[in-house]
Symmetry: C2
Subunit: 174 residues, 2 copies
């Protein structure tokens, strides 16, 4: 019974004692940060529900998907492609390899790097989960009026893309 939202029954907000705490700060429910966290949470829940039985997380799917599109990438470049922390990706790759979905071959000409490839099982898995994953994306946007879905996606893409160049996010050596 996939229902991992079960434990997250969000109570409607009835105001609480919002009163005298000095400055009347913005409400939590109106903060973009909180809303984005919720959306991320819902996204994960929908993924887990649609992909029940595949033993595949959304993070693992993203990695597999990118490896298929970039056969032979090394872990560092992959982490940059899909915006995973390098340390995090290490564990993800380890689990993907343990499940037999990817191979890690030594890179010819560079004894540091290991090149990532899908196995036949990995290819099959990606084909099998294609439909469920598509449903996740559909259901995620389903609550929005059809006419607003493209707008939402456009703004979301704009927000994430433009933050890559925000001062303060970029004061790191290229």
């Amino acid at each position: 019974m996939p229902c991992n939202i079960a434990r997250i029954r969000v109570s409607g907000y009835e105001g609480g004692d919002q009163g005298n705490h000095g400055t009347p700060m913005q409400h939590l429910y109106a903060m973009p940060g909180h809303l984005i966290r919720r959306a991320h949470q819902i996204s994960g829940a929908l993924f887990a529900e649609e992909l029940d039985g595949f033993d595949l997380t959304s993070v693992q799917f993203g990695a597999l998907y990118a490896i298929r599109a970039h056969p032979g990438v090394d872990a560092t470049r992959l982490s940059s492609l899909i915006a995973f922390d390098r340390s995090t990706l290490g564990g993800v790759i380890e689990r993907l390899e343990a499940k037999g979905w990817i191979r890690r071959d030594p890179a010819p000409g560079d004894r540091r790097a290991k090149r990532l490839h899908l196995t036949a099982e990995g290819e099959k898995l990606l084909r099998d989960v294609e439909e469920p994953v598509r449903r996740v994306q559909e259901r995620l946007l389903a609550p929005l009026p059809p006419g607003d879905r493209a707008t939402f996606l456009r703004l979301l893409a704009q927000l994430t893309q433009l933050h890559a160049g925000t001062p303060g996010m970029d004061d790191c050596p290229e």
Copy 2:
């Protein structure tokens, strides 16, 4: 030098070997799930950057903020108010208490529950971080054209709220 995006240098997508993998599935970068994950990641990075030195995570802030608005809540109700998993919240509360920002008092009339309250230090902390937190929310939306920010927020709020009642998300005992 807070720059926790440093390790997440997202490479522009140049197409890779997107070619013959059977069905031409949607691109990862166009999937709402991926974009929401990125937005969440950016949100966390901005929070960490603006709140550098406060030893406070965005999750901990959310909990503190909600406890201030609902003095005396128990952990279970709090988790429902801010949509944290009950297990996760346990650790968060533990850390907040260890840092002296909240108290856990036994609930009169119920020997199971413990009621949560801010300490004076917790109150002060919340006042001190108010401005940085406000900046996080501003910077998060800054890449969007001013006229689109309200639209984005509205759609995001609509998406998260309406998902609470989605069939499949709700097939759990009330």
